[in-house]
Symmetry: C2
Subunit: 353 residues, 2 copies
């Protein structure tokens, strides 16, 4: 506390991101980064942009990036908003589209940044419990609300709702904004971006961090009707006119255009996921059916926290959360085949000594 702080500052409970170790020898399966590097075309575009023109401000509209994203999703550019990572996009969404007199709804087990945004912007919220299978039951969201937000697939569970369930909710919930946070949808069977053409209150958030192996570049975006996009632009232009630098604009545009590379690394992650799930089940793990680039697992004979600790002693880090319902679960990122072999070998040692 300090007399100089605004009232809100001491009330905040800042988000704590997953550990970013400096030791390069650690096998890092804790923050869902893509194990493969970004598109070579993206790296080349960044190197080409690393020149004297960096003295000039970037395009405040980020038009080339919006056009690349619009083309990839068969949309008009006025249905695209871009920001400095999907965290910034989400922040503007909470401030510009989810702050209403009524409380907003989101899953009790979900992205832990959501309640942090609520505190930052004074947004009331009611957590909605996952069902006993850790699924989001959208029928539970069919109640009076100031807005709805959920990740799909959800993190840390890795589970998806169906298109039919979402459409059913959207048909009934037309007076508030429904935000689907698709940070992981590249690894799922379905994405709901096309539904924004049918529902003016639907907003989809995505990011290049996982799908395009560009967590280090910070580019996220939203797709929605032009009226929702306009709200985000008004907030953004009252906050920071140039949130995306020239290098990120160049790299992100090239990455989005290189669809062949995206599909290649996505398919490799999905193949490794299939093998990882089989290997973990062979070691008696319960594994939720993942639609993401991570798996959410628990083991009948050893506590999750002990497994995490034993893995760390072997230089492998995974994510463990404190929520009472998930305290006995681990979230493990799908790495390369080699990293997963090391993980499985270590788990075998730990569980079958």
């Amino acid at each position: 506390m300090s007399e100089f702080w605004s009232e809100i500052v001491s009330e905040l409970t800042p988000y704590v991101p997953g550990e970013q170790p400096r030791d390069q020898n650690i096998i890092k399966l804790n923050t869902n980064e893509n194990p493969y590097g970004p598109s070579p075309a993206a790296l080349a575009a960044i190197r080409a942009e690393s020149q004297d023109t960096l003295r000039l401000y970037p395009d405040p509209q980020a038009l080339t990036l919006k056009q690349a994203l619009a083309k990839a999703h068969n949309l008009e550019p006025d249905r695209v908003f871009v920001g400095n990572g999907s965290d910034e996009v989400l922040a503007h969404i909470f401030n510009g589209l989810l702050k209403h007199p009524k409380p907003i709804l989101f899953p009790d087990i979900s992205y832990s940044f959501y309640p942090v945004y609520c505190k930052l912007y004074g947004v009331e919220f009611k957590p909605v419990a996952l069902n006993e299978d850790f699924e989001i039951d959208l029928d539970e969201y069919d109640r009076d609300n100031g807005g709805i937000i959920f990740p799909n697939p959800n993190a840390p569970t890795g589970l998806s709702v169906t298109r039919a369930a979402l459409k059913n909710l959207l048909e009934r919930n037309r007076r508030s904004v429904v935000v689907v946070d698709e940070a992981y949808s590249a690894f799922a069977d379905d994405s709901f971006v096309d539904l924004i053409n049918d529902y003016p209150n639907l907003l989809i958030v995505q990011t290049l961090s996982k799908s395009h192996a560009l967590a280090g570049l910070r580019v996220g975006f939203a797709f929605a009707s032009p009226r929702l996009i306009e709200a985000l632009e008004r907030i953004k232009n009252s906050f920071n006119s140039y949130p995306i630098d020239r290098l990120a604009l160049a790299g992100a545009s090239a990455a989005v255009e290189d669809e062949a590379y995206f599909r290649t690394i996505r398919d490799r992650v999905i193949e490794t996921r299939t093998r990882t799930i089989k290997n973990l089940k062979d070691l008696d793990f319960d594994v939720l059916p993942s639609q993401t680039n991570f798996v959410f697992v628990t083991h009948g004979r050893m506590a999750a926290s002990n497994i995490a600790q034993a893995l760390r002693q072997r230089s492998i880090i995974v994510r463990h959360f404190d929520h009472p319902r998930t305290a006995n679960y681990l979230r493990i990122t799908i790495g390369t085949d080699q990293e997963i072999d090391a993980l499985i070998g270590a788990l075998r040692e730990i569980l079958e000594p």
Copy 2:
């Protein structure tokens, strides 16, 4: 308006940044970019960072950049805050340190983003008039307030307050935060960063955009006592854990470390500024004594808006503001010697046909 917008959205009056033309043949003297490119060491660092590790999140603490800045200013890193351009840093300052029951004070003619931040965060403010010589008279700020912010040197005037005047204010104003926005101080005779060691309520904001020719990279920072820095970190970590991407971290750190290059291009800009002022005075312009990389000028015989229009017809763009007191002034960025020669030649044609 839309029923989906938060109440605040329709009340906003977003900031409008200076024009960023796509035509490369335009002589661009409108947004105070540095005419020289960034440090070759910064460009090399960015190219080196354009590799597979972009798949990993950046350091959320941005420690290497904080250390480089701390070393350059002979401070501890816990007195440094970094953000995605000084606009983002300023936004967090308005939310975290300037939002109090009492109105804040800033000059009536100044950075036009300040009132925009006030609307975004619901901060009350009272503009304080510049004196008749367009100077900030700090005696006028010695009144009850929730905080004080002003650019030094001020934009668009280019004028500075003295160290003695600032110290005098700080001695009297100890109960609220005083923010000095030093976006242009690299081109001035004095910077007040060292005073943060004496005044726990003083916060200095700087940016690499102008001084280090990195407007395209988006890196700004603040220097202050650890308690003020902590407020900004709490806001930042409730908004976006990773505001600065890996490329910007690498490029900015290298740019800050290359002090010799910084001094070289700064001195060239200051030399050209001296010559520009002389040439403009020869054409009967009134020129305020600039401490920045731009000049603020007016002409007795031709309206500023007409001069701006005539320059644009000759593919030279400068900045013209709408404020009643400055409507007959132009803000002209110091370009290369060649660009300034073109400007002076065009003005000669326009004024002495």
